[in-house]
Subunit: 336 residues, 2 copies
């Protein structure tokens, strides 16, 4: 497939086009060992130990949706990128690009929302910047957050995924993507779906005693669970087999997916954790997750297998096995 010469919406999807852009442009050019692993946060050596450092731009449309808004999302997303590498968040920054003519009250509302989410996660917002562009140059408000976290180099998740390892998700999937879609399109739905947008650092803390036996964690945002799991095994000599019946999906998300022909595996989450751990600690990890309100519906959804290296497969409810590939582009643009 010849590479596109222009940027498409799919380059922001988190799918294959995004990966190509990252690989062919950013990784190639910025080439350095801290960036290369493409983790949710980079690990940086500093005098007193290891730091985690991450950034994300937010362009979600609409700015406000059931369960959150761009401000809450920007804080939670960056806190989560720190948490999933095992870091304790220390500080956040916030850069806003605002369109001329939008109401200052809306900026204040998003700022209050950021502060509430940051206070909830126990992280201060210590640095910021604001730029204003002309009416025709931006939708309204874009927010970019960066985050700084402290890592205990002696106790953080990591290590190759092995045959028999368990795949665990912290709860029902696809709520964020669905909630944004419903809000954007003004769909009338009988069971309202609310974004799961939440800071996961508290939930991750419950897992700290088991970090040594957790291979990898992620918050499956753009591209959903399917994309995160594909990235887990991308260059691995094992693959993952998921059991469809074990994957928690709420009735509301299930109904909308059926109606619109969407696959919840690819829908964004903003308050869920997916991880692969040693099968020997499954009970402890599940117990820890379920001890926290954000992990109440945690479930084992599959296992690693050497039978399908670098692949993610799904045992369907009717007993078939299908490949869960990465999408080239996304089902929904601008969900975060």
């Amino acid at each position: 497939m010849p590479r596109s010469k222009t940027i498409e919406l799919g380059h922001g999807s988190g799918g294959v086009l995004t990966r190509e852009l990252i690989r062919d442009v950013f990784l190639k050019t910025f080439d350095n060992p801290a960036l290369a692993p493409l983790m949710d946060s980079a690990l940086v050596e500093a005098a007193g130990g290891e730091l985690a450092f991450t950034t994300d731009a937010y362009v979600v449309k609409p700015l406000v949706f059931p369960g959150g808004d761009i401000g809450k999302l920007a804080v939670c997303g960056t806190v989560n990128d720190l948490a999933v590498v095992g870091a304790r968040p220390l500080a956040l920054s916030c850069a806003m690009i605002v369109r001329e003519g939008i109401e200052i009250e809306l900026v204040e509302q998003m700022t209050r929302s950021m502060q509430a989410a940051a206070a909830d996660a126990g992280v201060p917002i210590v640095a910021g910047d604001t730029k204003v562009v002309e009416r025709t140059s931006c939708d309204g408000l874009f927010v970019t957050t960066a985050g700084l976290g402290a890592v205990d180099a002696a106790n953080r998740p990591g290590g190759a995924i092995r045959d028999g390892d368990a795949v665990i998700v912290s709860g029902t999937i696809g709520e964020h993507g669905t909630a944004v879609l419903v809000a954007r399109e003004g769909l009338k739905v009988t069971s309202p779906v609310v974004s799961d947008c939440a800071a996961l650092n508290g939930l991750v803390e419950t897992l700290r005693p088991f970090f040594g036996r957790i291979r990898i964690m992620r918050d499956p945002t753009r591209g959903g669970l399917a994309t995160a799991l594909n990235e887990f095994v991308e260059q691995s000599d094992v693959g993952l087999v998921l059991r469809e019946a074990a994957i928690p999906v709420s009735d509301g998300v299930g109904a909308i997916c059926e109606l619109l022909g969407l696959d919840p595996l690819y829908l964004a989450n903003e308050g869920k954790l997916v991880l692969v751990c040693d099968a020997g600690v499954v009970g402890e990890v599940l117990g820890a997750l379920r001890s926290h309100p954000l992990g109440a519906r945690a479930a084992v959804i599959g296992a690693a297998t050497s039978k399908y290296p670098a692949k993610v497969c799904l045992e369907t409810a009717v007993g078939g096995l299908r490949l869960v590939d990465m999408l080239v582009t996304d089902q929904l643009p601008r969900i975060c």
Copy 2:
């Protein structure tokens, strides 16, 4: 003056409107001791010592201008925000918001430019994110960088400005603002003006032995030298008197300012340092600055005085004294 209910371009100018937005919205809401000093970088306590953390969004128009482009600017600007608090830059992040339909080659060009500037400053770009928005939702490319630096808490600039302290600038002022203006408006000029866009961490290193006697440093970007100096003395019981004849202005900038009625004191710089230091180290500080190519034209441009508390005044070339106030809005929008 009643506060505007909507965002104006002036809210992004770095002038009085920006200060109001920061004070009334961001500071009020994000209230915390690391943000409150409104320094170029926040200081964050970590296990091994003090860290500097900063962010800036870049929306400059045009994307490429004489002497630089948005990529170089985004790297240099963030490195400079770290450097002026006395931090050694450790790592940068880069979040891009890209418009659907722009050429990937342009994204690559900006990425290469970021990498060249980062390599030049000796700082790796370790984390990134890319979002794509529809054709009508963004001008082309916005870049937000964040930066992480190491601070030696025992040796960094700081302390109240005192009567008799010297004001020093590292070279000619107003080049960046002028270069962007000329490029944007397609002005025909006889002496071309090139942006001074440069990373200042090397220049700042020459000053490290004198940090203890430097009260404050800044890279005077949006709002120019006048705004930076007003911020220096905003709540001080001393003021600053500048000597117009001592302020270095290149012929090219001087000519364009005269032609268009602009004041170089308010034009943005992206590779200049302005500082206030103890009068007893003026010789050493000037010598250190001049030992570095970026400080070759460093000059003492004024002094602190208890005669005009919290004010910045200018002794004009013809012997008058005028107030150099902060502008409410800016001469030029979107210069960074």
